[in-house]
């Protein structure tokens, strides 16, 4: 307040806005520049060649479908957990939140190694049902591990925003807890759940570290990009990378649009 420039006529200095805008632009530029760079430096021919490349195609479909499997499986198991966390107060609840966030902070190659102890050849699961190393389900497991926190946290936020007494009113009107969950809680938290699913799917698609440890083959697109970069250099890697980037951005845009429109309808 002692600075005369800061409070002239009680208004905040126009500087603040200017500085904030500048700093914000730097961050945005930092996000946009590399993405724009990779798009602009690839010619249309290169991209269409890559899109026609069999290896690229199969890697893209593997990546998308494995991430989708992971998302669906974790939606079925994670949504009830998110609901419990939003509704019940119990001992160890905050510890549970911390555990759910663990995959975000664990280095992803470490996560891959850790997963080997559960689904690898020598693990209990592996010796009973067969190892998931080098399989599509194995890739899905690796993707699920690193991306499920996004889904659970988003769904938890969604459920927490649903007023409890809407559920209570439904109960007194004759709805069982299960019916109440599916007809009141889920529809009202739907937008957050859907956002969480999109985030989880997107995060799964982009995973490299954990996936590459569980399965180098069959090859996901991030693994393919990595391999081509190592073996053939930048130009080869770039066109495959751009194909996945374009697909991801398109899907992401469509789903966000759908989620937004749904919420406006409500």
């Amino acid at each position: 307040m002692s600075n005369p420039r800061s409070t002239e006529a009680g208004r905040p200095i126009p500087w603040t806005g200017l500085v904030f805008t500048l700093l914000g632009s730097l961050v945005l530029l930092f996000i946009i520049a590399p993405l724009a760079g990779i798009l602009l430096s690839s010619s249309f021919g290169e991209i269409s060649d890559a899109a026609a490349d069999k290896e690229v195609r199969s890697s893209v479909s593997l990546t998308l479908s494995a991430a989708l499997m992971a998302t669906i499986a974790c939606t079925v198991t994670g949504i009830p957990l998110a609901y419990l966390l939003a509704r019940k107060r119990f001992f160890g609840r905050s510890t549970l939140f911390a555990i759910i966030d663990l995959p975000i902070i664990v280095p992803h190659t470490t996560a891959g190694i850790a997963l080997l102890t559960v689904v690898g050849r020598d693990s209990l699961f592996g010796s009973t049902f067969g190892s998931l190393v080098g399989t599509a389900p194995g890739i899905a497991v690796a993707m699920a591990f690193v991306s499920v926190p996004f889904l659970i946290n988003a769904a938890h936020n969604g459920f927490a925003k649903v007023p409890v007494h809407l559920e209570s009113a439904a109960r007194t009107l004759g709805a069982s807890p299960c019916r109440t969950f599916f007809t009141i809680s889920v529809p009202l938290a739907w937008r957050d759940i859907l956002t969480g699913m999109i985030m989880m799917w997107a995060r799964g698609i982009s995973e490299f570290g954990a996936v590459v440890i569980i399965a180098y083959h069959p090859m996901t697109t991030p693994t393919l990009v990595f391999e081509r970069f190592n073996d053939y250099g930048l130009a080869h890697a770039r066109s495959a990378a751009v194909v996945l980037l374009i697909i991801c951005v398109l899907i992401f845009a469509v789903l966000r649009f759908v989620a937004k429109r749904r919420s406006r309808e409500e």
């Binding site: 007023p163 007494h165 809407l166 209570s168 009113a169 439904a170 109960r171 007194t172 009107l173 004759g174 709805a175 069982s176 807890p177 019916r179 007809t183 009141i184 529809p187 009202l188 409500e266």
Partner: protein, 345 residues
């Protein structure tokens, strides 16, 4: 018949303490208590949403204390109506029947007739967020009534609507209550609402039921000073000494026709106190010289505060008598009230 037997429940700062009451079939029971926490908890306990720490709830003699809310048939209407924002009015009203697996055609027909009953037939396609407070309340009532509940639990149903709509809704509540055998258990802080709607009124203070009475009797029989204050009774006077034929309070001898040996307070209705410029012959046994201290508007009447020695009283008079008496601060008047107009407790 709905019966609560010694219900106890502690929830944060609020305690329901040893609550025992019974409501007969078809009765409109109003729980009157100050605003704030507690009354909603009470309704949620009755609805089965909150388990009591101890005590039992019975419906027609059968213990329902541990019956889950969806199987009790006690519909709860929250103060903010708790309409489902993702369903339109028709969907909200139909909710309870759909949960019970009714046939689609029957649901549609009953939604129509229930909406008609509550005067919201034109709103069936609207989303709750677009409705006025009164319309939302009618929707919430329709949604509860369509399930033909044994007990309808109402949480301050008129508190959030404007006064004219509240008046209309009061009539709606009375009408729908008279149509069936459903028990209405209605909590409110509004004394007028309780008097208008209740067959019985229970006064709840600090989580205990202090008094259960009828609208006709409730003002005659306050059980203690707190109840009297809550009911807004003016002229509740602490008795210093019980005398033959009356009492002494703040140095004034008051004559009472029916006394009670254990009385601690007496109460004179402010509308029973007559003010006059001069003393007059009257069968009324209490006539005192008094001084005007002040006055304030009380609806259509004026409340004049007077003092008889150290005893402060309020009298309700019309505006025209106010002008006739040429009332001003410090004016000396006479106040008169019958010994039979005094209640003891």
């Amino acid at each position: 018949m709905l019966e609560l037997h010694s219900i106890n429940r502690k929830l944060g700062d609020f305690t329901l303490a040893d609550l025992t009451m019974s409501v007969a079939k078809g009765e409109y029971f109003v729980i009157l208590g100050p605003s704030g926490v507690g009354k909603t908890v009470f309704l949620e306990v009755v609805a089965g949403l909150i388990r009591p720490d101890s005590g039992r709830i019975t419906w027609n003699g059968a213990d329902v204390t541990f019956v889950p809310p969806e199987r009790r048939g006690f519909a709860l209407v929250y103060q903010d109506y708790a309409l489902f924002p993702h369903l339109n009015v028709a969907g909200n009203i139909a909710y309870g029947l759909r949960a019970r697996g009714f046939d689609k055609k029957i649901v549609k027909k009953r939604v129509q007739s229930t909406a008609e009953l509550l005067g919201i037939r034109d709103l069936l396609h609207r989303k709750p967020q677009t409705l006025s407070g009164g319309e939302q309340q009618r929707t919430a009532l329709a949604r509860a009534m369509i399930t033909e509940p044994n007990v309808l639990l109402l949480d301050e149903p008129l508190a959030a609507v404007d006064p004219r709509e509240a008046e209309r809704l009061r009539r709606v509540l009375r009408d729908i209550h008279q149509r069936g055998d459903t028990i209405f258990l209605h909590v409110t802080h509004n004394v007028d609402e309780a008097l208008y709607l209740g067959d019985k009124i229970g006064v709840m203070l600090d989580g205990t039921l202090r008094l259960v009475s009828t609208p006709e009797e409730i003002f005659r029989s306050p059980t203690d000073r707190e109840v009297a204050d809550f009911l807004g009774l003016r002229n509740v006077i602490h008795v210093d000494e019980i005398t033959k034929g009356g009492c002494r309070a703040a140095g004034v001898e008051i004559s009472i026709s029916i006394t009670d040996d254990s009385m601690a307070h007496v109460w004179i209705r402010p509308e029973d106190i007559l003010l006059s410029e001069k003393p007059f012959e009257s069968s009324a046994r209490n006539q005192f010289r008094c001084k005007v201290i002040g006055w304030e508007s009380s609806g259509r009447l004026l409340e004049v505060k007077i003092s008889v020695g150290d005893l402060a009283l309020s009298a309700l008079i019309t505006r025209s008598s106010f002008d006739d008496l040429k009332i001003e601060s410090g004016a000396v008047l006479y106040c008169t009230f019958k010994s039979s107009a005094i209640y003891c407790f």
